[in-house]
Protein backbone atom coordinates (compact mmCIF):
# COMPACT_ATOMS: atom_id res chain seq x y z
CA UNK A 1 0.00 0.00 0.00
CA UNK A 2 2.78 2.36 1.01
CA UNK A 3 4.62 1.46 -2.16
CA UNK A 4 1.65 2.60 -4.27
CA UNK A 5 1.54 5.88 -2.35
CA UNK A 6 5.25 6.37 -3.09
CA UNK A 7 4.69 5.69 -6.78
CA UNK A 8 2.14 8.55 -7.14
CA UNK A 9 3.87 11.64 -8.42
CA UNK A 10 4.03 14.60 -6.10
CA UNK A 11 1.94 16.91 -8.31
CA UNK A 12 -0.95 14.39 -8.45
CA UNK A 13 -0.96 14.18 -4.66
CA UNK A 14 -1.20 17.94 -4.32
CA UNK A 15 -3.84 18.15 -7.02
CA UNK A 16 -5.97 15.41 -5.44
CA UNK A 17 -5.82 17.24 -2.13
CA UNK A 18 -7.27 20.28 -3.83
CA UNK A 19 -10.01 18.20 -5.53
CA UNK A 20 -10.97 16.56 -2.23
CA UNK A 21 -11.12 19.97 -0.58
CA UNK A 22 -13.46 21.32 -3.31
CA UNK A 23 -15.76 18.27 -3.24
CA UNK A 24 -15.96 18.29 0.56
CA UNK A 25 -16.62 22.02 0.55
CA UNK A 26 -19.41 21.57 -1.98
CA UNK A 27 -21.00 18.78 0.07
CA UNK A 28 -20.84 20.88 3.22
CA UNK A 29 -22.11 24.15 1.78
CA UNK A 30 -24.69 23.05 -0.82
CA UNK A 31 -27.38 21.96 1.71
CA UNK A 32 -27.34 25.51 3.03
CA UNK A 33 -28.32 26.86 -0.41
CA UNK A 34 -30.52 24.09 -1.83
CA UNK A 35 -33.92 23.83 -0.15
CA UNK A 36 -34.56 20.38 1.37
CA UNK A 37 -37.57 19.69 -0.88
CA UNK A 38 -35.74 20.58 -4.09
CA UNK A 39 -35.67 17.54 -6.38
CA UNK A 40 -38.23 15.62 -4.36
CA UNK A 41 -40.64 15.31 -7.31
CA UNK A 42 -38.39 16.58 -10.08
CA UNK A 43 -35.94 19.40 -10.73
CA UNK A 44 -37.88 21.99 -8.71
CA UNK A 45 -38.87 22.99 -5.20
CA UNK A 46 -41.86 20.82 -4.26
CA UNK A 47 -43.35 23.40 -1.91
CA UNK A 48 -43.48 25.93 -4.77
CA UNK A 49 -46.45 24.00 -6.16
CA UNK A 50 -48.31 24.33 -2.86
CA UNK A 51 -47.52 28.05 -2.83
CA UNK A 52 -48.88 28.53 -6.35
CA UNK A 53 -51.90 26.36 -5.52
CA UNK A 54 -52.75 28.51 -2.52
CA UNK A 55 -53.08 31.70 -4.58
CA UNK A 56 -56.14 33.78 -3.69
CA UNK A 57 -59.05 33.17 -6.08
CA UNK A 58 -61.06 36.12 -7.43
CA UNK A 59 -63.53 34.48 -9.81
CA UNK A 60 -65.74 32.07 -7.91
CA UNK A 61 -67.36 30.20 -10.81
CA UNK A 62 -70.89 30.25 -12.19
CA UNK A 63 -72.39 27.35 -10.21
CA UNK A 64 -72.47 29.07 -6.83
CA UNK A 65 -74.50 32.13 -7.94
CA UNK A 66 -77.73 30.14 -8.32
CA UNK A 67 -77.67 29.24 -4.62
CA UNK A 68 -78.92 32.71 -3.72
CA UNK A 69 -79.99 34.20 -7.06
CA UNK A 70 -82.20 31.37 -8.23
CA UNK A 71 -84.77 33.70 -9.82
CA UNK A 72 -82.19 35.26 -12.13
CA UNK A 73 -80.51 31.98 -12.94
CA UNK A 74 -83.84 30.44 -13.99
CA UNK A 75 -84.52 33.34 -16.35
CA UNK A 76 -80.96 33.29 -17.65
CA UNK A 77 -80.91 29.56 -18.25
CA UNK A 78 -83.57 29.92 -20.97
CA UNK A 79 -82.06 32.84 -22.85
CA UNK A 80 -79.26 33.38 -25.31
CA UNK A 81 -76.96 34.40 -22.48
CA UNK A 82 -77.33 31.04 -20.73
CA UNK A 83 -73.68 30.22 -21.34
CA UNK A 84 -72.42 33.67 -20.38
CA UNK A 85 -71.17 33.33 -16.80
CA UNK A 86 -72.51 35.84 -14.27
CA UNK A 87 -69.01 37.15 -13.59
CA UNK A 88 -68.51 38.20 -17.21
CA UNK A 89 -70.67 41.28 -16.56
CA UNK A 90 -70.76 41.48 -12.76
CA UNK A 91 -67.04 41.05 -12.21
CA UNK A 92 -65.06 38.75 -9.94
CA UNK A 93 -67.36 37.55 -7.16
CA UNK A 94 -65.25 35.49 -4.77
CA UNK A 95 -65.48 38.01 -1.92
CA UNK A 96 -69.19 38.55 -2.61
CA UNK A 97 -69.80 34.81 -2.31
CA UNK A 98 -67.90 34.73 0.99
CA UNK A 99 -69.68 37.74 2.46
CA UNK A 100 -72.58 39.02 0.32
CA UNK A 101 -73.34 41.85 2.73
CA UNK A 102 -70.10 43.78 2.60
CA UNK A 103 -68.77 42.96 -0.87
CA UNK A 104 -71.32 44.05 -3.45
CA UNK A 105 -71.01 43.59 -7.17
CA UNK A 106 -71.57 46.09 -9.91
CA UNK A 107 -73.69 45.76 -12.98
CA UNK A 108 -72.57 47.69 -16.03
CA UNK A 109 -75.51 49.82 -17.16
CA UNK A 110 -73.91 51.95 -19.84
CA UNK A 111 -73.78 51.20 -23.55
CA UNK A 112 -70.04 50.74 -23.61
CA UNK A 113 -70.02 47.35 -21.87
CA UNK A 114 -72.52 45.52 -24.11
CA UNK A 115 -70.73 46.78 -27.19
CA UNK A 116 -67.52 44.99 -26.15
CA UNK A 117 -69.22 41.90 -27.55
CA UNK A 118 -71.99 43.31 -29.75
CA UNK A 119 -70.36 46.20 -31.63
CA UNK A 120 -69.98 45.35 -35.30
CA UNK A 121 -66.48 44.13 -36.20
CA UNK A 122 -65.63 42.48 -39.50
CA UNK A 123 -63.51 39.91 -37.66
CA UNK A 124 -66.44 38.59 -35.62
CA UNK A 125 -67.94 35.32 -36.80
CA UNK A 126 -71.01 35.75 -38.96
CA UNK A 127 -74.24 34.95 -37.17
CA UNK A 128 -73.12 36.67 -33.99
CA UNK A 129 -75.59 39.48 -33.17
CA UNK A 130 -73.91 42.84 -33.77
CA UNK A 131 -74.97 46.47 -34.00
CA UNK A 132 -73.34 49.73 -35.01
CA UNK A 133 -73.68 51.58 -31.74
CA UNK A 134 -73.61 55.14 -33.13
CA UNK A 135 -76.65 54.48 -35.31
CA UNK A 136 -78.51 52.04 -33.04
CA UNK A 137 -80.65 54.21 -30.70
CA UNK A 138 -77.54 56.16 -29.69
CA UNK A 139 -79.00 57.84 -26.61
CA UNK A 140 -80.63 54.81 -24.99
CA UNK A 141 -78.87 52.43 -22.61
CA UNK A 142 -79.11 48.90 -24.00
CA UNK A 143 -81.01 47.65 -20.94
CA UNK A 144 -84.04 49.85 -21.65
CA UNK A 145 -84.99 47.54 -24.52
CA UNK A 146 -82.97 44.34 -23.86
CA UNK A 147 -83.01 42.32 -20.65
CA UNK A 148 -79.36 41.30 -20.20
CA UNK A 149 -80.40 38.13 -18.37
CA UNK A 150 -82.67 37.06 -21.23
CA UNK A 151 -81.66 39.21 -24.16
CA UNK A 152 -83.99 39.20 -27.09
CA UNK A 153 -84.45 41.74 -29.79
CA UNK A 154 -87.56 43.81 -28.94
CA UNK A 155 -88.87 42.67 -32.30
CA UNK A 156 -87.64 39.60 -34.13
CA UNK A 157 -85.13 40.98 -36.66
CA UNK A 158 -86.69 41.71 -39.97
CA UNK A 159 -83.32 42.32 -41.50
CA UNK A 160 -80.74 39.59 -41.84
CA UNK A 161 -78.06 42.25 -41.28
CA UNK A 162 -78.76 42.21 -37.53
CA UNK A 163 -76.56 39.13 -37.30
CA UNK A 164 -74.94 38.93 -40.73
CA UNK A 165 -73.42 42.38 -40.69
CA UNK A 166 -70.28 41.64 -42.67
CA UNK A 167 -72.22 39.97 -45.46
CA UNK A 168 -74.71 42.86 -45.47
CA UNK A 169 -71.89 45.37 -45.88
CA UNK A 170 -70.23 43.39 -48.64
CA UNK A 171 -73.57 43.02 -50.38
CA UNK A 172 -74.27 46.75 -50.16
CA UNK A 173 -71.66 47.54 -52.84
CA UNK A 174 -72.75 44.66 -55.05
CA UNK A 175 -75.31 44.49 -57.86
CA UNK A 176 -77.01 41.75 -55.89
CA UNK A 177 -78.08 44.30 -53.25
CA UNK A 178 -81.42 44.45 -55.11
CA UNK A 179 -82.13 40.79 -54.36
CA UNK A 180 -83.68 39.95 -50.99
CA UNK A 181 -81.63 37.39 -49.05
CA UNK A 182 -84.55 34.99 -49.21
CA UNK A 183 -84.36 34.92 -53.01
CA UNK A 184 -81.34 32.60 -52.72
CA UNK A 185 -81.55 31.38 -49.10
CA UNK A 186 -84.68 29.50 -48.10
CA UNK A 187 -84.88 30.49 -44.46
CA UNK A 188 -86.95 28.55 -41.95
CA UNK A 189 -88.91 30.90 -39.69
CA UNK A 190 -87.29 29.26 -36.65
CA UNK A 191 -83.85 30.42 -37.84
CA UNK A 192 -84.55 33.81 -36.24
CA UNK A 193 -85.25 32.23 -32.86
CA UNK A 194 -82.82 29.33 -32.93
CA UNK A 195 -80.25 30.28 -35.53
CA UNK A 196 -77.82 27.38 -35.26
CA UNK A 197 -80.43 24.61 -35.19
CA UNK A 198 -82.33 25.82 -38.25
CA UNK A 199 -79.96 27.05 -40.90
CA UNK A 200 -80.91 28.65 -44.22
CA UNK A 201 -80.25 26.83 -47.48
CA UNK A 202 -77.89 27.71 -50.32
CA UNK A 203 -78.73 27.25 -54.01
CA UNK A 204 -77.81 23.69 -54.87
CA UNK A 205 -78.06 23.78 -58.66
CA UNK A 206 -76.42 25.74 -61.47
CA UNK A 207 -79.81 26.28 -62.98
CA UNK A 208 -80.80 28.42 -60.00
CA UNK A 209 -78.28 31.12 -60.95
CA UNK A 210 -78.99 30.32 -64.59
CA UNK A 211 -82.51 31.60 -63.99
CA UNK A 212 -81.08 35.08 -64.46
CA UNK A 213 -77.60 34.51 -65.89
CA UNK A 214 -77.98 31.82 -68.55
CA UNK A 215 -78.04 32.86 -72.23
CA UNK A 216 -81.69 32.03 -72.68
CA UNK A 217 -82.93 33.41 -69.37
CA UNK A 218 -85.88 35.76 -69.50
CA UNK A 219 -84.31 38.51 -67.40
CA UNK A 220 -83.15 42.10 -67.67
CA UNK A 221 -80.83 42.86 -70.58
CA UNK A 222 -78.03 44.34 -68.47
CA UNK A 223 -77.47 41.11 -66.55
CA UNK A 224 -74.24 39.26 -67.47
CA UNK A 225 -74.96 36.04 -69.38
CA UNK A 226 -73.20 32.72 -69.53
CA UNK A 227 -73.71 29.51 -71.49
CA UNK A 228 -74.34 26.94 -68.80
CA UNK A 229 -73.60 24.13 -71.26
CA UNK A 230 -69.97 25.18 -71.78
CA UNK A 231 -69.10 27.20 -68.66
CA UNK A 232 -67.56 25.54 -65.63
CA UNK A 233 -69.79 22.52 -65.27
CA UNK A 234 -68.86 20.26 -62.33
CA UNK A 235 -69.23 23.33 -60.10
CA UNK A 236 -72.17 25.10 -58.58
CA UNK A 237 -71.85 28.78 -59.49
CA UNK A 238 -71.08 29.97 -55.97
CA UNK A 239 -68.11 27.66 -55.70
CA UNK A 240 -66.24 30.14 -57.94
CA UNK A 241 -68.26 33.38 -57.83
CA UNK A 242 -68.89 35.00 -54.46
CA UNK A 243 -72.60 35.83 -54.81
CA UNK A 244 -72.50 38.60 -52.18
CA UNK A 245 -69.96 40.45 -54.31
CA UNK A 246 -69.71 38.94 -57.81
CA UNK A 247 -66.53 40.14 -59.47
CA UNK A 248 -68.29 41.28 -62.66
CA UNK A 249 -68.88 44.98 -62.01
Amino acid sequence: MLSIWKKIPEQIKRLSFLVILIVAGYLLISPLFIPPDFGKYGHFRASAVEEIASQQMNYVGHEICANCHEDVSVIKSKGYHKNVACEVCHGPAFLHAEDPGSATLEAPRGRSYCTLCHEYLPSRPTGFPQIVAISHNPMKPCITCHDPHKPEPPVTPKECSACHATIARTLSISYHIYLPCTRCHETPEKHKINPREFTPSKPSTREFCGGCHSIDAKSDKGIPRIDLATHGHRYVCWQCHYPHLPEAK
Binding site: F38, K40, Y41, G42, H43, F44, R45, A46, A48, V49, E50, E51, I52, A53, S54, Q55, Q56, M57, N58, Y59, G61, H62, H81, N83, V84, A85, E87, V88, G91, P92, T115, L116, C117, E119, Y120, L121, P122, S123, R124, P125, F128, R169, I173
Partner: protein, 262 residues
Protein backbone atom coordinates in the same frame (compact mmCIF):
# COMPACT_ATOMS: atom_id res chain seq x y z
CA UNK B 1 1.40 -21.82 -27.16
CA UNK B 2 -2.16 -23.15 -26.74
CA UNK B 3 -2.07 -22.34 -23.07
CA UNK B 4 -0.97 -18.83 -23.73
CA UNK B 5 -3.78 -18.30 -26.21
CA UNK B 6 -6.49 -19.50 -23.83
CA UNK B 7 -5.26 -17.33 -20.98
CA UNK B 8 -5.23 -14.38 -23.36
CA UNK B 9 -8.85 -15.19 -24.22
CA UNK B 10 -9.72 -15.39 -20.54
CA UNK B 11 -8.06 -12.08 -19.94
CA UNK B 12 -10.13 -10.55 -22.68
CA UNK B 13 -13.31 -12.08 -21.26
CA UNK B 14 -12.45 -10.74 -17.81
CA UNK B 15 -11.80 -7.32 -19.26
CA UNK B 16 -15.16 -7.23 -21.03
CA UNK B 17 -16.89 -8.43 -17.86
CA UNK B 18 -15.29 -5.73 -15.78
CA UNK B 19 -16.01 -3.16 -18.39
CA UNK B 20 -19.72 -4.07 -18.46
CA UNK B 21 -19.90 -4.03 -14.66
CA UNK B 22 -18.32 -0.60 -14.63
CA UNK B 23 -20.86 0.65 -17.19
CA UNK B 24 -23.73 -0.86 -15.20
CA UNK B 25 -22.55 0.78 -12.01
CA UNK B 26 -23.02 4.12 -13.75
CA UNK B 27 -26.35 3.36 -15.43
CA UNK B 28 -28.26 1.23 -12.92
CA UNK B 29 -28.34 3.79 -10.08
CA UNK B 30 -29.71 6.27 -12.62
CA UNK B 31 -32.48 3.88 -13.69
CA UNK B 32 -33.35 3.00 -10.11
CA UNK B 33 -33.33 6.66 -9.15
CA UNK B 34 -35.64 7.56 -12.05
CA UNK B 35 -38.06 4.75 -11.18
CA UNK B 36 -38.03 5.89 -7.56
CA UNK B 37 -38.84 9.45 -8.68
CA UNK B 38 -41.72 8.26 -10.88
CA UNK B 39 -43.11 6.22 -7.97
CA UNK B 40 -42.75 9.19 -5.61
CA UNK B 41 -44.47 11.56 -8.06
CA UNK B 42 -47.33 9.04 -8.33
CA UNK B 43 -47.96 9.31 -4.62
CA UNK B 44 -47.72 13.10 -4.59
CA UNK B 45 -50.85 14.66 -3.05
CA UNK B 46 -51.35 18.39 -2.59
CA UNK B 47 -52.88 19.82 0.57
CA UNK B 48 -56.46 19.72 -0.68
CA UNK B 49 -56.19 16.06 -1.76
CA UNK B 50 -55.43 16.82 -5.40
CA UNK B 51 -53.19 14.20 -7.02
CA UNK B 52 -51.17 15.82 -9.86
CA UNK B 53 -50.20 12.54 -11.53
CA UNK B 54 -53.88 11.66 -12.17
CA UNK B 55 -54.44 14.62 -14.50
CA UNK B 56 -53.08 15.99 -17.73
CA UNK B 57 -54.54 19.38 -18.49
CA UNK B 58 -55.05 20.98 -21.88
CA UNK B 59 -57.04 23.75 -23.54
CA UNK B 60 -58.98 23.94 -26.78
CA UNK B 61 -59.62 27.21 -28.60
CA UNK B 62 -62.17 27.43 -31.42
CA UNK B 63 -61.18 30.31 -33.69
CA UNK B 64 -64.59 30.31 -35.39
CA UNK B 65 -66.29 31.09 -32.08
CA UNK B 66 -64.03 33.87 -30.78
CA UNK B 67 -65.70 37.29 -30.97
CA UNK B 68 -62.65 39.24 -29.75
CA UNK B 69 -64.46 40.77 -26.77
CA UNK B 70 -61.31 40.55 -24.63
CA UNK B 71 -63.18 39.29 -21.54
CA UNK B 72 -60.57 36.53 -21.12
CA UNK B 73 -57.74 39.08 -21.07
CA UNK B 74 -59.61 41.17 -18.51
CA UNK B 75 -60.51 38.19 -16.31
CA UNK B 76 -56.96 36.84 -16.42
CA UNK B 77 -55.56 40.15 -15.22
CA UNK B 78 -58.13 40.38 -12.43
CA UNK B 79 -57.74 36.77 -11.33
CA UNK B 80 -53.96 36.72 -11.31
CA UNK B 81 -53.17 40.36 -10.44
CA UNK B 82 -51.29 40.86 -13.69
CA UNK B 83 -50.07 44.49 -14.05
CA UNK B 84 -52.81 46.57 -15.69
CA UNK B 85 -50.59 48.47 -18.11
CA UNK B 86 -50.15 47.17 -21.66
CA UNK B 87 -47.38 44.70 -22.57
CA UNK B 88 -47.98 42.48 -19.55
CA UNK B 89 -50.29 39.63 -20.49
CA UNK B 90 -50.70 36.03 -19.51
CA UNK B 91 -53.28 35.76 -22.27
CA UNK B 92 -54.11 38.15 -25.09
CA UNK B 93 -56.19 38.25 -28.28
CA UNK B 94 -54.79 38.96 -31.75
CA UNK B 95 -56.79 40.15 -34.72
CA UNK B 96 -55.84 38.85 -38.16
CA UNK B 97 -57.03 40.67 -41.28
CA UNK B 98 -56.28 39.36 -44.75
CA UNK B 99 -56.32 42.10 -47.37
CA UNK B 100 -57.16 41.92 -51.06
CA UNK B 101 -53.54 42.49 -52.07
CA UNK B 102 -52.38 39.39 -50.12
CA UNK B 103 -51.21 41.48 -47.18
CA UNK B 104 -51.94 40.42 -43.63
CA UNK B 105 -52.48 42.83 -40.77
CA UNK B 106 -52.07 41.46 -37.27
CA UNK B 107 -52.73 43.64 -34.27
CA UNK B 108 -53.57 43.38 -30.61
CA UNK B 109 -54.20 46.85 -29.12
CA UNK B 110 -53.59 46.49 -25.39
CA UNK B 111 -53.91 42.73 -25.79
CA UNK B 112 -57.51 43.16 -26.91
CA UNK B 113 -58.60 43.87 -23.34
CA UNK B 114 -60.99 46.62 -24.50
CA UNK B 115 -62.09 44.68 -27.58
CA UNK B 116 -61.24 46.04 -31.04
CA UNK B 117 -62.24 48.96 -33.25
CA UNK B 118 -63.57 48.59 -36.77
CA UNK B 119 -61.16 50.15 -39.26
CA UNK B 120 -62.34 52.48 -41.99
CA UNK B 121 -60.30 50.57 -44.57
CA UNK B 122 -62.31 47.46 -43.90
CA UNK B 123 -63.61 47.13 -47.45
CA UNK B 124 -60.24 45.71 -48.48
CA UNK B 125 -60.52 42.87 -45.98
CA UNK B 126 -61.40 39.55 -47.55
CA UNK B 127 -61.16 37.45 -44.39
CA UNK B 128 -60.62 38.16 -40.73
CA UNK B 129 -60.69 36.45 -37.35
CA UNK B 130 -59.44 36.61 -33.77
CA UNK B 131 -56.82 34.36 -32.18
CA UNK B 132 -56.64 34.16 -28.39
CA UNK B 133 -53.16 33.26 -27.24
CA UNK B 134 -51.60 32.13 -23.99
CA UNK B 135 -48.83 29.88 -22.71
CA UNK B 136 -49.10 26.66 -24.69
CA UNK B 137 -48.09 24.55 -21.67
CA UNK B 138 -45.73 22.59 -23.92
CA UNK B 139 -45.15 18.96 -23.10
CA UNK B 140 -41.59 19.59 -24.20
CA UNK B 141 -41.05 23.09 -22.84
CA UNK B 142 -38.04 25.13 -24.02
CA UNK B 143 -38.42 27.56 -21.10
CA UNK B 144 -37.95 24.76 -18.57
CA UNK B 145 -34.87 23.47 -20.39
CA UNK B 146 -33.06 26.81 -20.22
CA UNK B 147 -33.87 27.79 -16.62
CA UNK B 148 -30.49 27.75 -14.85
CA UNK B 149 -31.91 27.26 -11.35
CA UNK B 150 -34.97 25.03 -11.77
CA UNK B 151 -37.37 27.89 -11.03
CA UNK B 152 -39.68 26.98 -13.91
CA UNK B 153 -40.78 23.40 -14.16
CA UNK B 154 -43.39 20.97 -15.42
CA UNK B 155 -45.62 19.41 -12.80
CA UNK B 156 -46.94 15.86 -13.00
CA UNK B 157 -50.21 17.15 -14.50
CA UNK B 158 -48.37 18.79 -17.39
CA UNK B 159 -48.73 22.42 -16.29
CA UNK B 160 -45.63 24.63 -16.50
CA UNK B 161 -45.24 26.71 -13.33
CA UNK B 162 -42.82 29.35 -12.05
CA UNK B 163 -41.39 29.26 -8.54
CA UNK B 164 -41.62 32.89 -7.38
CA UNK B 165 -39.14 32.39 -4.55
CA UNK B 166 -36.55 30.76 -6.74
CA UNK B 167 -36.67 32.78 -9.97
CA UNK B 168 -33.63 35.00 -10.52
CA UNK B 169 -35.22 37.15 -13.20
CA UNK B 170 -32.48 36.29 -15.69
CA UNK B 171 -35.04 36.26 -18.58
CA UNK B 172 -33.57 33.19 -20.25
CA UNK B 173 -37.03 31.63 -20.36
CA UNK B 174 -38.53 34.77 -21.92
CA UNK B 175 -35.98 34.46 -24.72
CA UNK B 176 -36.55 30.74 -25.10
CA UNK B 177 -40.35 30.79 -25.34
CA UNK B 178 -41.23 30.63 -29.05
CA UNK B 179 -44.76 31.90 -28.33
CA UNK B 180 -43.86 35.10 -26.47
CA UNK B 181 -45.99 33.92 -23.59
CA UNK B 182 -43.72 35.10 -20.79
CA UNK B 183 -42.91 38.51 -19.38
CA UNK B 184 -40.88 39.96 -16.54
CA UNK B 185 -43.13 41.34 -13.81
CA UNK B 186 -42.20 45.05 -13.53
CA UNK B 187 -42.28 45.07 -9.72
CA UNK B 188 -41.33 41.61 -8.51
CA UNK B 189 -38.78 41.14 -11.34
CA UNK B 190 -39.68 37.49 -11.77
CA UNK B 191 -40.64 35.78 -15.01
CA UNK B 192 -44.42 35.37 -15.14
CA UNK B 193 -46.69 33.30 -17.30
CA UNK B 194 -50.06 31.60 -17.53
CA UNK B 195 -50.47 28.80 -14.98
CA UNK B 196 -53.79 27.51 -16.40
CA UNK B 197 -55.02 29.15 -13.15
CA UNK B 198 -53.44 26.31 -11.20
CA UNK B 199 -55.08 27.44 -7.96
CA UNK B 200 -58.48 27.07 -9.66
CA UNK B 201 -58.05 23.82 -11.57
CA UNK B 202 -56.92 21.92 -8.48
CA UNK B 203 -60.26 22.93 -6.95
CA UNK B 204 -62.12 21.56 -9.96
CA UNK B 205 -62.86 25.00 -11.44
CA UNK B 206 -62.04 26.22 -14.94
CA UNK B 207 -59.29 28.78 -15.54
CA UNK B 208 -60.66 32.35 -15.33
CA UNK B 209 -60.43 32.92 -19.10
CA UNK B 210 -62.48 29.78 -19.80
CA UNK B 211 -64.95 30.70 -17.06
CA UNK B 212 -65.79 34.07 -18.59
CA UNK B 213 -65.59 33.23 -22.30
CA UNK B 214 -69.12 34.14 -23.42
CA UNK B 215 -69.10 32.02 -26.59
CA UNK B 216 -67.32 28.88 -25.33
CA UNK B 217 -64.48 29.58 -27.71
CA UNK B 218 -62.19 28.31 -24.96
CA UNK B 219 -62.60 24.75 -23.69
CA UNK B 220 -60.64 23.37 -20.79
CA UNK B 221 -60.30 19.79 -19.72
CA UNK B 222 -58.39 16.75 -18.65
CA UNK B 223 -56.85 14.74 -21.47
CA UNK B 224 -56.76 11.59 -19.33
CA UNK B 225 -60.53 11.55 -18.80
CA UNK B 226 -62.59 10.24 -21.69
CA UNK B 227 -65.65 12.30 -20.77
CA UNK B 228 -63.84 15.63 -20.60
CA UNK B 229 -65.09 18.44 -22.86
CA UNK B 230 -61.60 18.76 -24.25
CA UNK B 231 -61.53 15.14 -25.45
CA UNK B 232 -64.78 15.76 -27.34
CA UNK B 233 -63.29 18.99 -28.70
CA UNK B 234 -60.30 17.01 -29.99
CA UNK B 235 -62.56 14.37 -31.53
CA UNK B 236 -64.89 16.75 -33.33
CA UNK B 237 -62.60 19.43 -34.75
CA UNK B 238 -59.81 19.92 -37.23
CA UNK B 239 -57.02 20.75 -34.83
CA UNK B 240 -53.63 22.32 -35.05
CA UNK B 241 -51.10 23.73 -32.64
CA UNK B 242 -48.85 26.77 -32.96
CA UNK B 243 -45.39 26.16 -34.47
CA UNK B 244 -45.63 22.34 -34.58
CA UNK B 245 -42.23 22.16 -36.30
CA UNK B 246 -40.50 23.14 -33.07
CA UNK B 247 -41.61 19.87 -31.41
CA UNK B 248 -42.65 21.71 -28.29
CA UNK B 249 -45.84 19.60 -28.24
CA UNK B 250 -48.23 22.31 -27.05
CA UNK B 251 -51.29 21.38 -25.02
CA UNK B 252 -53.29 24.33 -26.32
CA UNK B 253 -55.18 23.03 -29.33
CA UNK B 254 -56.68 25.36 -31.93
CA UNK B 255 -59.71 24.44 -34.02
CA UNK B 256 -60.12 26.07 -37.45
CA UNK B 257 -56.75 27.78 -37.20
CA UNK B 258 -55.35 29.50 -40.27
CA UNK B 259 -51.84 28.54 -41.37
CA UNK B 260 -50.83 32.19 -41.26
CA UNK B 261 -51.08 32.16 -37.45
CA UNK B 262 -47.83 31.31 -35.72
Amino acid sequence: MRNNESSEKQNRRKFIQHFLFACASFIIPGIIGAQELVRKVGTWVLKNGYVPSEHHWGMGIDISKCIGCGRCVDACKKENNVPKEPFFFRTWVEQYRFLENDGVVVDSPNGGINSFKAETSEKNIIRSFFVPKLCNQCDNPPCVQVCPVGATFKTADGVILVDKEYCLGCRYCIQACPYGARFLHPETRIAEKCTFCYHRIIEGLDPACVEVCPTQARIFGDLTHKASPLVRFKRMNNLSVLKPSLNTEPKVYYANLDGEVR
